[in-house]
Structure formats: structure tokens, C-alpha cells
């Protein structure tokens, strides 16, 4: 007689079961996103060096602050998040998982964890690539990794809560984040990009606030903690939501 699997068993089973998805189209898109920036940067800097034009430390910083942090990591999260628990809802395979005796709250994280590890791996490769151009690797990697962690968790939660979760995610990452950067005060606290900059240092050609305020400063460890805990909270909220919501065959909810 089979027994109820423990949360760890369920996590491992899902992680392993969905592993092949990472090395299919969507997985390679996630991998390619940071690599495009880094490879582009490497090619350009080699060309410049061959021309004899000296490239300062500005190039890797520009790649990080213009390409990776504000554009590529959010897009990675946007690409990866719908392939998590949202995918099971959309292709109506969630009932198969709910029909199994394992714990339900572990599902959102178990479906997202693979995408986090895979994306994290490629962010690491990207940071090493930028390291060749003179970027300080460890803090920048930590910043990207934590941003990806928090954004992926946030988008997964949105995907679980709203049918148009991805749209709300786009609005949050590409409208709210850049807009609030120009606004004064503590509101900046509620953007991902602020914490990335607190971890990795401010962009050299960084945006001047429209209302020209002194930038808000947040400590390194405070920001790291904020991103980490925010991500954890999002996963937990997603798990809790799935745990308390009865979900039937049509994928819709029924009221208890």
C-alpha cells in the first residue's frame, strides 16, 4: 500500500519530473536572454580593443544596469513563471497532481524551483562572462539572483491569483518599477530595481529623478533580506492559496 509522500519527496518528484521542460524551447529562451547581453558585450569589447579604442569599466556596468538587471531578469521571470503552476492550470493537468495524496501547498514552489535553479545557473554564467570585462562578480551575481528569485516568486503568485497574471506582471515590472524610480521618497522601497541597485551599486549613468530628489539609500544586507523574504512570502502565499482553494476538473474554483 503506497504511503502519503512527504513534502520533500513531492518536491523532489516534481523537480525531477519536470526537468526535461528546462532543456526545451522555453528553457533555452531563459538561458539565451542573459547570454545575448553578455555575448554581445564581449564581441563589442573585443572589436573595440582591436580598433585600439580603450573601453573603460563603463561597458560591463552599462550592460549590467541597462541590459541585465532592468530588462533581461524581468523578462526571464516573465518567460519562466507561466511554465510553473500556471502551466498546469492552463493545460488542465493540475487535477492529476491534486488527485495524488501528497501535500498541495508544496506544488507552486516545486514547479517554480526548477526554473529558479536553471535561470540562476545562466545568470551565474552571465556574471562570469561580465567578470572577464572587469565586473565584480559576486555582488552582482547575488543581486541578479535575488532579483530573479523575488520576481519569479511574485509572478508565479500573480499567475495563480489572476487569469491575466502575466499582464499584471508586465505592468508591475515595466511600468511600476521604472515609473516609481522617478518619484521621491520611500516609494522606491517597493521596486525591485531599487534593491538591485542597493546590492550592486547605482548605475553610473543612472536616471536623474524628474523631481530631483536625493536618492533613497538602503543597506546591502537589508536589501538582500528584503528580496529573499519577499520571494519566500510569495511562494508561501501561492502555496497557501492553492491549499485553501478547491480546484475541480475544469480548473475553476468551487465555493465550499
Amino acid at each position: 500500500m503506497p504511503l502519503r509522500p512527504s513534502p520533500m519527496t513531492a518536491l523532489a518528484a516534481l523537480l525531477q519530473g519536470y526537468l526535461p521542460r528546462l532543456v526545451q524551447l522555453r528553457g533555452w529562451v531563459v538561458a539565451a536572454l542573459p547570454m545575448v547581453v553578455v555575448l554581445g558585450g564581449l564581441v563589442v569589447s573585443i572589436l573595440l580593443r582591436l580598433n585600439g579604442t580603450p573601453s573603460g569599466g563603463a561597458t560591463p556596468m552599462a550592460l549590467f544596469h541597462l541590459g541585465l538587471a532592468p530588462v533581461m531578469v524581468p523578462i526571464m521571470a516573465l518567460v519562466a513563471a507561466p511554465a510553473g503552476i500556471r502551466e498546469d492550470m492552463e493545460q488542465r493537468t493540475l487535477p492529476f497532481l491534486l488527485l495524488r495524496p501528497g501535500p498541495v501547498w508544496v506544488l507552486p514552489f516545486a514547479r517554480g524551483a526548477g526554473w529558479f535553479l536553471w535561470g540562476g545557473l545562466w545568470l551565474g554564467v552571465a556574471c562570469l562572462g561580465l567578470g572577464v570585462l572587469g565586473l565584480e562578480v559576486s555582488t552582482h551575481f547575488l543581486a541578479l539572483l535575488l532579483a530573479y528569485w523575488a520576481e519569479l516568486a511574485f509572478l508565479s503568485l500573480l499567475g495563480l491569483l489572476f487569469r491575466r497574471g502575466t499582464l499584471w506582471g508586465v505592468l508591475a515590472l515595466f511600468l511600476w518599477d521604472p515609473l516609481v524610480r522617478f518619484l521621491p521618497g520611500r516609494l522606491q522601497w517597493f521596486t525591485f530595481i531599487h534593491h538591485v541597485e542597493a546590492l550592486a551599486g547605482r548605475s553610473p549613468q543612472g536616471g536623474e529623478g524628474i523631481l530631483a530628489q536625493a536618492p533613497v539609500e538602503t543597506g546591502f544586507w537589508a536589501s538582500a533580506l528584503v528580496l529573499l523574504v519577499f520571494g519566500l512570502l510569495c511562494w508561501a502565499a501561492a502555496g497557501w492559496k492553492l491549499h485553501v482553494t478547491p480546484i475541480g476538473l475544469s480548473g475553476g474554483e468551487a465555493e465550499g
Binding site: G40, V44, S45, L47, L63, L66, R164, T166, V170
Partner: protein, 276 residues
Amino acid sequence: MPIHAPTLPPRPLQGEGLAPALVLARFEVRRILRQRLGRFFGFAFALVLLVDLALVYFKPMAGVAGQLLPQGAAFQAGLLGKVLLFLLWLQVAQVGGGLVARDTLYRIRPLMYAHPVRHLDYLLGKGLVAVGLPFLILLPFILLPWGVSLLMAGAQGPVWPTAPLHLIPAALVVSFLMGILTLGASSLASTPGGGFAWALGGVLGCGVLGTLLSGLMGNPGWYAVSPMALAQAWPRILCGASGELGWIATGLGTLVHLSFWLGVAVLRTRPREALA
């Protein structure tokens, strides 16, 4: 007294119908007009048009003793300005993104090819909407200021009497760029939302790439990678205003984008594959 049992007579033979491409286009237009988002965009465009008109007249009037004075090339090109084009990109991505993707989602395309619709008809019909929509929206932005300027100040107005000759071709090229790009993007997606995302992703992604490349290479010619930059460049070039992008880069960039996205659309809508 006979009983006329209800039955289905053969189809009527009288009357020649429209070409399939036109039927398709009209069906799409009706659908677009019914959308709520369409009304929102209509309002936004009206607002931009008003601001434009105000700028056209009050700016030069305030400057030189309240007189309407002829303006330079940059001013003419500005009639198809940045804000307008940005709004238009959004609108075209939203509408155009759904053109092919909605058929994919509802699986209508196989049925079209089962009716007498050819591949060319399908592309023409969809293309007509995708290209025609931005063109029709751009047209009042050219003709209205021009007409009012002519009425109020004749040849001495701020808008050149010959401005439409420069701007209408520009609007046409821009419409083709926008329309064909979204058509291709739409054929990549399987839902209208996905089409919107592909279109915006294509435009913004190429935009970021263009900015990065031109910044890193120190050559603004690389902006030609960005469709947004291309759309902004065409009115300037055709009006003879100076800009970051030259003739060659603009033409080449436009040609590459057009052929790439058209190729995508052609490949992804073939009848053989559609009929599962």
C-alpha cells in the same frame, strides 16, 4: 391550398460577392470597432491630435508677434511625432497582434482554406487591416493641420503646402512597417494576448538591442535595428530634416524588418499546415 414545408433551397446565384480578402478585412474591422479598447485608443488619439493642433498654432504665434509663420523641415516631420507613433505602436500591436493569433486560437484558418480562400487572400485581407489601420489613423494628423494651415495663412502657414507629398509616403511606409511586423508577430502566437506580447517584445526588444549596439559601438546607425527608431526616421528623411539615421541605414533596416516579418507570416499561415 399547398403546404410549403420548410426546407433549404440551393444557394442564391445572383450577385457577385466581394473578393475574399475584402470580406476578411471587413469582418476584422467590424470586430475591432466593437472592442472597448478601441474606443480608449480613439480617445487617446483625439487628445494627441488636439495637442498637435494647439502646438502647430500657438507655438509659432507666441514666438513671433502672433503671426503664423512658415516652419522648417523638423516641424513638418514633427506632425508624425514621437508620442503619436508610440501610441500607434501600442494600438497596432494590440489590434494586429490578434489578427492571425485569434484565428489560430479559434482554429478558423483551416476552415478558411476549406472555403475558397487562398493563402494570398488570407494574407492580403489581414495585411489590409494591419497596414490600413495605422495609415488611416495617421492621415488626419497630416491632413488636418495642413488644411487648417492653408485656410488660415495660405502658402505662408506653418505647414508647407506640399507637406502631404512628403508625409503621406512616410505614413505609408510607417504603416507597412507597423502592420507587417505585427502580422508576423501575431502569426507566431497562439492567443491574441500572445500576439500582443510578441509584437511588443519584437518592437521593444529590437529597441533595446538598437540602443545597446549604438551605445557600445558609438555609431547611431545601429538604431536602425529598432523599428521604433525607423518609424521616427521616415518622416524626418522624407521632409529633409536632419536626424540620427541616414537614408541607407533606414532603408536597409526597414527592408530587413519587412522581409523578415512577412516571411514569418507567410510561413506560419500555409494552408497545408493549417488543415490538421
